[in-house]
């Protein structure tokens, strides 16, 4: 088991994942979802806190559990796992708030070396233009795909009507 990630479980379709964040505020169940966007191979990544007493999910919760990097690493691990079971997929991610999107960027940067072994990441700038992810640049959303699909995806992103 990777010591920098929490133990994590997948559902049978490998579209939903859950793990327990353990930090200064106690144990918080986290749920990661890959939801089909309606576009043939593009899935939306979202994650948040799961309240077992109400069966509610909150993607705006600020847990402040002191384990942000470990949570983000665990989410990154689910990306790798999801892509193993859905090899042709693209994963889209956007934060529920600007600060949450910045958190995603931190998560990508912190896991970039591991992610880039197999995947390519594109970022959408505030102008709406997509470009390959670079450290230090602000992006409003992200798209992750397998390296071998990079050229096809890049050609499509360059030809978008914006």
């Amino acid at each position: 088991m990777n010591l920098n990630c929490y133990p994590c479980f997948a559902n049978e379709t490998h579209l939903v994942y859950e793990f327990i964040s353990c930090g200064s505020k106690g144990a918080v169940k986290k749920v990661v979802e890959y939801a089909w966007t309606g576009l043939d191979d593009v899935y939306n990544l979202a994650f948040g806190d799961f309240d077992e007493s109400t069966n509610d999910i909150n993607d705006l919760a600020i847990t402040n559990n002191g384990d942000c990097l470990k949570v983000l690493s665990t989410v990154a691990w689910t990306v790798q796992e999801f892509m193993f079971w859905h090899p042709g997929a693209l994963v889209f991610a956007i934060g529920s708030t600007g600060s949450r999107t910045r958190l995603y960027r931190i998560g990508i940067v912190n896991n970039l070396a591991e992610i880039q072994k197999e995947f390519v990441i594109f970022g959408r700038a505030e102008s709406g233009i997509w470009e390959e992810f670079v450290v230090g640049k602000a992006f409003t959303s992200f798209l992750v795909g397998r390296k071998e699909n990079k050229e096809v995806l890049w050609n499509q992103l360059q030809n978008l009507d914006l």
């Binding site: 920098n4 997948a10 859950e18 966007t37 384990d67 990154a76 978008l160």
Partner: protein, 59 residues
């Protein structure tokens, strides 16, 4: 203090599976999915155009 060590993931495909039927059959984050669809709409349109365009008969 939280560790900043770079993670190394375990081999993909090895994550344990468990029953999550309580989370299935619904979109868990519908607002984020809707936002994703709005942002991806140009990409969806581009791909739909590509599917609808017949191949060039001269090639």
């Amino acid at each position: 203090m939280e560790s900043t060590a770079k993670p190394r993931f375990m081999k993909p495909g090895k994550m344990p599976v468990k029953d999550m039927s309580h989370l299935e059959g619904k979109v868990l984050f519908p607002e984020k999915l809707e936002r994703a669809r709005q942002i991806l709409a140009p990409l969806i349109a581009l791909r739909e155009r590509g599917k609808a365009t017949p191949p060039d008969s001269n090639t």
